[in-house]
Every structure is written in C-alpha cells, then in structure tokens.
C-alpha cells in the first residue's frame, strides 16, 4: 500500500523511468509534446548536427501559431523574412523528423494550447512538455503540462524524457460560487494578486474546491494557463465527468472499449484522502469583483471598482521603486479610479481566453452595441475551428456589426511577434496573460482582464465593470 499521495505525486510516480539522485531528480517520461515554429528551430538543428532521430515522432504535434499574420483573409505567405524562414524551416524539420504539422492553411491550425485540447491530443494522466510557458493549460484536463526551453525540446525529441527536479506541492482551494459577470479569469487574477508573481515558484499547484468543480472545462483552462504567472511550473485539477464529456467528442480521444478502459483509469486521478501538500492556499470568490491589472506585472491587479494604488504606501524600497516604475510606464496617477482609464485598443485573443465560450461571453456583452469611436477592437479566435464555430453560431456577425475586426487565428497581439503590434503609448484592454513592459509593442500599455471585461471596455472606451451591462442569457 502507498501512503496517501497527491495527484502530482501520482503523475510523477507513473512517469519516472529512474531516480537520478536523492535530491529529487528523476528521468521523467513525457507522453506528449507540442511544438511551434519559434522555440523549436535550434532544437532541430542540434538534432541534425548530432545525427539524431526523433525518439517517438507521433508524440509530437507541430502547429504554426506565433509568427503568422491574423489578417481576415488567410494567406500562406509570411509578411517578414524572419517569420518566413522560421515557418519554412519548421516545415522542413517536421517532414524530415516525421512529425505531424498543422500549417497556417490547415483547418485545424490555431494557438497550440487551444488546438491540442480540441483535437483530443491531451488526455488525463499524461505528462506533457512544450516549448511554451503556457503549457500549464493542459492541467484542466487532468494532464500535467509544463513549459521548457529549446535545449529541453531537443532533449525531449531525442529521448522522450527530461531530467526533472520534482516540485513542491500547493493546493489552492477555491470556495464560494462566482457572481454574474465574474469569470475564471478573475479567479486566477485574484490568486496571482494574492500570492504574487513568484508566489508559486518551485511549486505544482492543484486547484480544488466547489468554485473549480462548478466551472466548465474551458474556464478551467484559463486558470491553469495563467498559473504560470504566479510562478507555478505546472497547475492542474483532478479530472471529473465534465472533462470526460469534453474529451469524448474529440477527434483523437480513444474510442469504444479503449475509452471505457481509459475513463476507468482516469477516475483514480485525484489526490488521496489525507495526502499532504507543502502549502495550502484558500480563496473565497463569492464576493469577487472583475479584476484588471494597473501595472506591468500580472500581480499588479485590483478589482475594477478600485483605484490605482499609491507607491508611497509600500514600505519595501525595491517594491516601491517597482510600483513607481510601473506607474510611470503605464502613465497612471496614484489614487485614480481604474474605471477612468481610457483605452485606445481592445484585444480578445490568446491561449488564455480565445475559446468558443470566451467568444460567447463577448457576444453577450456587445450584441446590438457599437465599439467606441476612438477604440480599435480586434478579435483573434484561438483556433481556426473556433473561428468556424463562431461563424456557424452567428457570433462573428455580432462582432462585425459592433465594429470589431474578426480575424484569423494565432498568438497575435498577446506577444506581438507577428505584425499585430501596438505603437508606443497605445493602451489596450486585453484578454491575454502578460502585461509586461513592451509585451504588446515597445512602449505600449496593457491592462489584463476577462474577455467580457475587454468587450465592455471596447464599447465604453474606458475600463468598465461589465456587471453594469445588461447581459443577455
């Protein structure tokens, strides 16, 4: 008999090829990898230089997402030489190493962390690594996903394993039920604000509690996705019937007898009664308000009804200087009501919040309304399949009628590696995950919030509590 184990320990135990020392290093077997065009080229070059083959090519799915344009009409050509070279080298690498690729013209193309779940490529109990920090998203399916650098991508391609140091465990119990207009984005933003941008560094987070159970699978993805902004190297949740129902319809999910066998195994994927976590955090969300960031780190956030904080009230010198620098960059004054902050851009997209449910949330806010005259508002669906579904459901027409740009899929202005870049001084309400200096363009200012909150800001032209809008069911 095992002593009670956490979900994390179960994943690690079932994927450990061998222990490498007595300090927690193991050789960890990785079930799946997702690859993109910008973090993988040097890994493939290393494989070529050493004359190595991919250990298990079918374990990797490749998707072009970071550098491609999202202009409303899709074309295969990249507008810049660097992006074109990355895409063509990616195609060459996938062909030579036998890896399946969704290129920009593929009907299944999209942001890797939207595409992999919607294809059923990620299943409960898996350990997944990918060259992108938001690989934590897969935790919503009961898989343990984490981001790795390019050297590790090469290691993984060559051996299907990683030299891995086991993490400490943190359980975040989320109590209470969300009020209308408040979303899972607000839960994770409130957690990051509470524990800080490095509050979970060195930890794997397991989310639990009634508020998590109540969320849809897509809403849970938003939470696991952004847990990395608190420093978590992985974040997940025990899979439940909602997860199984979500997966059953997916193209690559197991079928028939194999499905039954898989679900029976997956039902055992939860922390045992009495399992001990290194740290416990509790969050009550019954009175949570929609959150917005005011600074340049995801933990610099406040309820939308609040004010820009005063650095003078911060006793720690380094933190005070950090707040001052953030306010200078953001062009905000201490004490200013957050709802007075006027925006120039609204962006709905990213692996955090560009799934079909996010777009339905946006449609409920903007139906029959118009984007404020001074705002450029863009919607970049998380995948081409999400885009098609939104068109089938009539959402795209609602967006276009309201004055939004309805674009093709990609990472786009979340990190602005393609041609969707803000100019210095632009101020953007954004459904993305990082408000770092220069993230959406040098000198540009980002306010993170839920997709519904971005929609409300797009209509009024300033940060706005979406709960003041009459939401259609």
């Amino acid at each position: 008999m095992h002593s009670p184990r956490t979900l994390y320990q179960k994943h690690i135990d079932s994927h450990t090829v061998c222990a490498l020392d007595d300090q927690g290093h193991v050789l960890l077997y990785i079930d799946r990898q997702v690859a993109n065009e910008y973090t993988s080229p040097q890994a493939f070059s290393g494989m070529r230089d050493a004359g190595r083959k991919a250990w298990r090519p079918s374990a990797t799915l490749a998707v072009v997402d970071h550098v491609n344009p999202t202009a409303p009409t899709r074309v295969a050509a990249m507008p810049d030489a660097g992006g074109a070279r990355q895409v063509s080298y990616f195609e060459e690498n996938c062909r030579d190493f036998g890896i399946e690729l969704f290129d920009v013209l593929d009907k299944r193309q999209g942001i890797e962390h939207v595409v992999a779940p919607e294809q059923g490529f990620i299943l409960p109990g898996m350990v997944v690594a990918a060259g992108d920090s938001h690989t934590t998203t897969y935790g919503a399916l009961g898989a343990f996903g984490f981001g790795i650098g390019t050297s590790e991508i090469e290691h993984l391609l060559a051996s299907q394993t990683l030299v891995y140091k086991c993490l400490k465990t943190m359980r975040v119990t989320v109590n209470g039920l969300l009020g209308p207009g408040v979303t899972s984005k607000d839960i994770i933003m409130a957690l990051i604000e509470k524990i800080g941008a490095s509050g979970a560094t060195g930890y794997a987070i397991e989310f639990a509690g009634p508020a998590i159970s109540d969320l849809s699978v897509e809403a849970r993805m938003t939470i696991c996705n952004m847990a990395v902004e608190a420093g978590a190297r992985g974040a997940f949740m025990a899979p439940d019937d909602k997860v199984f129902a979500y997966l059953q319809r997916k193209p690559r999910a197991p079928q028939g007898q194999l499905w039954e066998q898989a679900v029976a195994t997956w039902r055992g994927l939860h922390s045992d009664e009495g399992a001990v976590f290194d740290r416990e955090v509790t969050l009550d969300v019954a009175t949570l308000e929609p959150m917005v960031t005011w600074g340049t780190s995801p933990d610099q956030a406040a309820p939308v009804g609040g004010h820009v904080p005063d650095p003078a009230a911060q006793p720690d010198l380094i933190l005070r200087q950090g707040m001052q620098r953030a306010l200078n960059y953001m062009g905000l004054e201490p004490g200013m009501p957050l709802s007075d902050v006027v925006i120039s851009h609204a962006f709905i997209g990213s692996c955090t919040n560009a799934r079909i449910e996010d777009l339905r949330d946006v449609a409920r806010v903007v139906r029959g309304k118009r984007v404020a005259a001074h705002v450029r508002a863009m919607i970049v669906p998380g995948s081409t399949m999400v885009r098609d579904q939104a068109e089938d459901e009539g959402l795209a027409q609602i967006f276009l009628d309201a004055g939004f740009e309805w674009r093709q899929s990609g990472c786009s202005m979340c990190l602005a590696m393609n041609d969707d870049v803000l100019a210095p001084g632009d101020r953007c309400a954004s459904s993305t995950n990082r408000n770092f200096e220069g993230r959406q363009g040098a000198g540009a200012r980002t306010h993170l919030m839920s997709p519904a909150m971005v929609a409300a800001a797009a209509i009024t032209g300033h940060l706005t509590d979406v709960r003041t809008f009459a939401l259609e069911a």
Binding site: L123, S159, M417, A442
Partner: protein
C-alpha cells in the same frame, strides 16, 4: 558546453523584482533559426535610447560593468516566456553566472542547460553583495563552483548551495542528451510497459 570552475569579474546589480524574459530579450530578436546575434537584443529597451545610442544610465553601459561576468538580480528573475533566447543573449555578452534570491523555473533550467550558473542566496546575503558591487571600486567578485563560494572585494566569502547533479554537469560541461541516451535501453523498457498499461496513449 563551456565548463564552469572559478570565474572572476565584475558583477552588475539589476535589483528590480520580476525582470521578465520579454525585457531580457524583446520579440524583434526572436525571429532567427539559430542562436546568433542575440547580444544585440539583450535588455534592448533598457540599454538603448530611442535615438539608438546606448543609455548611459543603464548599468551595463557604465565602464565598471560593461564587461560584467555576473548579474546580481532581484526576485523572480527570468519570469514569463520560456524563450531560451534570453539566456543565449546573456551568454553572448559574457555573463557566466546570475546571483539572486529566486529565479523563474523555466529560465533556471535554461541557464543550467547553457552552462550559466544561477546561484540562489538569502535576501540578506544578496543585499551584502549588491551593496559592494554597486560601487565601481568593489564591483569585482570571484565565483568558485568547486568550493561553492563567492568571494567579495572586501575579502568576505559567501557560501552557496547547489544540487550535486547540476554542479557536476556545470563543472564538466556535460552534454545532457548524451548522458541521458546512455540509458536508452532503460527508457525503451519503461516506454513499452507504460504504453502497454495505458494503451490509449499509443
């Protein structure tokens, strides 16, 4: 990989918390398919003015630290994007080790894989180092990995901890993939059993 043993040089303090990899290596330098030219991109928006001239206020542009071998950094250094370009850029300007209180997980692993030593100290120890290295006259330090010590300009010696596995790999400049593939047979056996027990993973 370049082995790390004893390295001496100046140490530049960059003490703001949460310096992210977007700031270390901005997006316009991520479009390559090799590792070249990233020295130009390192801290680009901090190092250069809008005119393109170096910003004299930025520490790595000042004579005492322009050849720095070390950065003394604030909490959660390297947070955000997984881009290893940030570490490649640091290496290309000659940074051999980072000294801080905490590092973001992916960045910390990226340092290790590139032979850049990331040393974690207590806040008090970091303050001691930052106070001395902020002064051009006492900015030089010596990092001794075999002994796990940092020698300061005033003669004080600060010990640090590091996992033995990481230490050996840095000391020897080991190729991690080659080391792992020595266990290829063990991986193959594990994989066969794992896929047989979980046939939906195939």
């Amino acid at each position: 990989m370049q082995p790390f043993a004893i390295v001496s040089g100046s140490a530049a303090p960059l003490l703001a918390a949460n310096i992210d990899t977007d700031v270390i290596m901005p997006k316009q330098f991520l479009k390559g398919i090799d590792r070249k030219g990233l020295d130009k991109g390192l801290f680009f928006d901090l190092r250069f003015l809008e005119s393109g001239e170096p910003d004299p206020g930025f520490i790595l542009n000042q004579p005492a630290w322009s050849e720095a071998a070390f950065l003394v950094v604030g909490a959660n250094f390297g947070c955000g994007s997984s881009r290893e370009h940030a570490v490649w850029g640091l290496k290309q300007v000659g940074i051999r080790a980072l000294i801080g209180t905490s590092f973001a997980g992916i960045f910390y692993d990226n340092c290790q894989r590139n032979g850049v030593l990331a040393i974690q100290l207590t806040e008090d120890q970091l303050k001691q180092i930052a106070a001395l290295t902020s002064n051009p006259a006492t900015a030089r330090i010596s990092v001794n990995l075999p002994e796990q010590t940092i020698e300061l300009a005033d003669g004080n010696v600060i010990p640090f901890e590091i996992d033995e596995l990481r230490k050996q790999s840095l000391l020897l400049g080991l190729d991690a993939i080659g080391t792992t593939l020595q266990r290829a047979e063990q991986i193959r056996q594990f994989e066969a059993r794992h896929l047989a027990e979980n046939p939906w993973l195939v």
